[in-house]
Amino acid sequence: MGDRVKNTFAPIGFAVTKGDWKTKISLVILGFGQLLRGQIIKGLSFLLIEIGFIVYLVSFGAKYFAKLGTLGTVATQKVGRKTVYGDNSFLILLFGILTLFVIAAFLLVWYLNIKDNMEAEELLKKGKQLPSNKAVFASLFDKHFDKTLLALPVTGIFVFTVLPILFMICVAFTNYDKNHQAPTNLFTWVGFDNFNRLLSFGSSGIGRTFVQVLAWTLVWALFATFIDYFLGLAVAMLINKKGVRCKQLWRTILVLTIAVPQFVSLLYIMKFFANDGLLNGYLLKWGVISSPIQFWVNPTLARITIIVVNIWIGIPYMMLIATGLLMNIPEDLYESARIDGANGWQMFRSITLPYILFITGPFLLTQFTNNLNNFNVIYLLTQGKPQSMSLKENAGSTDLLVTWLYKMTVNDTNYCMAAVIGIMVFIVTAVVSLVVYNSLPSVKDEEGFQ
């Protein structure tokens, strides 16, 4: 460990003490040494990065970065009838974080530059030749092809995923809500206030609501995952059964639910089950019931209906997967079991199920985490309703954490609370994944697959 630290800082020490003048100037002007040593491509890239960094910082980054501590102090004001906007806390936070990263990235580049200088100097000392410009460029398509391939995706993920997520994590520690909305109003840091509110069970806290929504989220994910899993398996076995004809037809019919966009099919189903919808309409007309069944109104019934409708959505996926896997089970296993006098159920229990369970372990885990965040099914069917006086912040009985988060963001513009909920979703997902993942048998040896 100590050696590693030492090795990491060695180039800096080298450049400051033992390096030649080219290397020393490179401490300040990046790429200087490389340029003088004839490594034009490398030298220019380093130099351009430094220029770009300085331009960015001076013209853009610095003024946001400087205000990161307060998130702005200049209030919006009126001059005559004209509005003069003050500090925009939102942009200060966003670009402040970005600037932080740009600085960190620049320090890394600076370090790499020093290290490269040192390596070049050592190579020359040993009387060896530095790689030519052409070789450096060509290595991008061979030895360093991974850099070429990953540069854009990594940048994209940084700007459009990492940065926004960090931003929202920070928002959880501010009072960014409907009363503190940029650009007209400022928001500022409030520490753990929002977390306290979420986890406090007094009359002003929303702890009880949170626990109830969380519980339903877990229950839902459990039911949605396992019911679909076993029913899907059953349907796959039914279709695979010897003697069943037009196998492809049955599969195609089921697969329709994957192909048709959910906003079309689920909104239709939502209307279908409504109190004044088709199903209740016909049941009333036929005299089966005397008053409408409250599919979406009664909390328990609404939850059940959602799980049932989700079967309609979920079975086909599992059916497709199971179909492929079932064919992989060697037929002679069943043959020998049959000779031993095993019946269908016994064969299923001791041959089919263990095999499928073993091989689809990771799939079950992904399904579970997906269902924890299954926005479409819930939101298109009930929008989280019915609400209740016993639930706060407009949470409803069928709300998952994500739909609640969504409603907070869009309807109530309560961004700080939504951010806290988002962090909670992350924690739940991460804990579940970690616990389950580590107990899966088939994931430990990645190289083993190859």
Binding site: L94, F145, T161, F263, K271
Partner: protein, 289 residues
């Protein structure tokens, strides 16, 4: 003995078929309902167009479809937007996923495991969390409202690298020995990637492209954020969910159904044609995790 076994087989087959027919009816019902409703006119002279409590329209008419194509709404524009988004997302996303998967599957570099872990962790944050931030980021680039279509493509493509699992799993199954042989013959990594790996990966390319193509058709949340009230930038999902959810659009349900059919038909046909690859991808993904 033999006949009784056969009779048992026959009855169980009949039962299986009956069960399958029942399942099919349940599965098809919503689609049949959609189609039937889409043929009910909204013109009060023909038939009342709001919600009704019967399934089969009294008169079949094409009024809803006529309405959608008549230019009274921007339906064709919305449709075109969705197709543009879907095609470009599908194209670029596939390229990004292939690049990332190849790098992660074939090359060993410093930070590789870190990158994979880090992305896995990132994936555990709910996507809706960052909507507001993404909106303002896109706004900085001028890619909201009138620029919503390229904006949506950018966001979808930018973060698609994280969805490498299935594709990497597939690459892992292609023997490394093939690569090594080519490299001994002097081929560069890039050459191996373009001339060997990609041609061998047709199923996974089609799977990736298909999944990417289908996603934008159902994006009504983020797309509505980015279009931000600019009618011409809506996609079909944003525009049409308004017909059901907003009270400004009374008695639009039949038109919603007709629009839904128009959206569903091409996507479904495409899906059915490429179903084989989809199954392959999904199964591979499920096994590899």
């Amino acid at each position: 003995m033999k006949t009784s076994y056969r009779r048992k087989q026959a009855t169980s087959n009949v039962l299986a078929h009956i069960l399958l027919v029942i399942i099919s009816i349940i599965w098809l019902f919503p689609f049949v309902g959609l189609v039937l409703t889409s043929f009910r006119s909204f013109d009060p002279k023909v038939e009342y167009g709001g919600m009704v409590d019967y399934l089969i329209p009294k008169t079949f008419s094409l009024d809803n479809y006529r309405f959608l194509f008549s230019g009274q709404t921007n339906f064709l524009r919305w449709y075109l937007n969705t197709i543009i988004i879907a095609v470009f997302v599908s194209l670029f996303q596939t390229i990004v996923v292939l690049c990332v998967s190849y790098a992660l599957s074939r090359m060993r570099f410093v930070g590789r495991t870190f990158l994979m872990r880090f992305w896995l962790i990132l994936g555990m944050f709910p996507g809706f969390l960052t909507m507001i931030c993404l909106y303002f980021l896109l706004k900085q680039f001028g890619l909201t409202q009138a620029g919503a279509v390229p904006g949506l493509i950018l966001v979808a493509v930018a973060s698609s690298g994280m969805g490498y699992y299935v594709c990497k799993g597939y690459f892992d199954t292609i023997p490394k020995a093939l690569d090594e042989a080519a490299r001994i013959d002097g081929a560069t990594r890039a050459r191996v990637f373009f001339t060997m790996t990609i041609p061998m990966s047709k199923p996974i390319i089609i799977y990736t492209a298909l999944v990417a193509f289908m996603a934008p058709w159902c994006d009504y949340v983020f797309a509505s954020y980015v279009a931000f009230g600019h009618d011409e930038s809506y996609n079909v999902a944003v525009a049409m969910t308004r017909w059901v959810w907003t009270n400004d659009y009374q008695a639009y349900f039949t038109r919603f159904c007709a629009g839904g059919i128009l959206v569903a038909v091409p996507v479904t046909i495409l899906f059915m044609c490429l179903q084989k690859y989809y199954v392959e991808g999904v199964t591979g993904g499920a096994v590899k995790g």
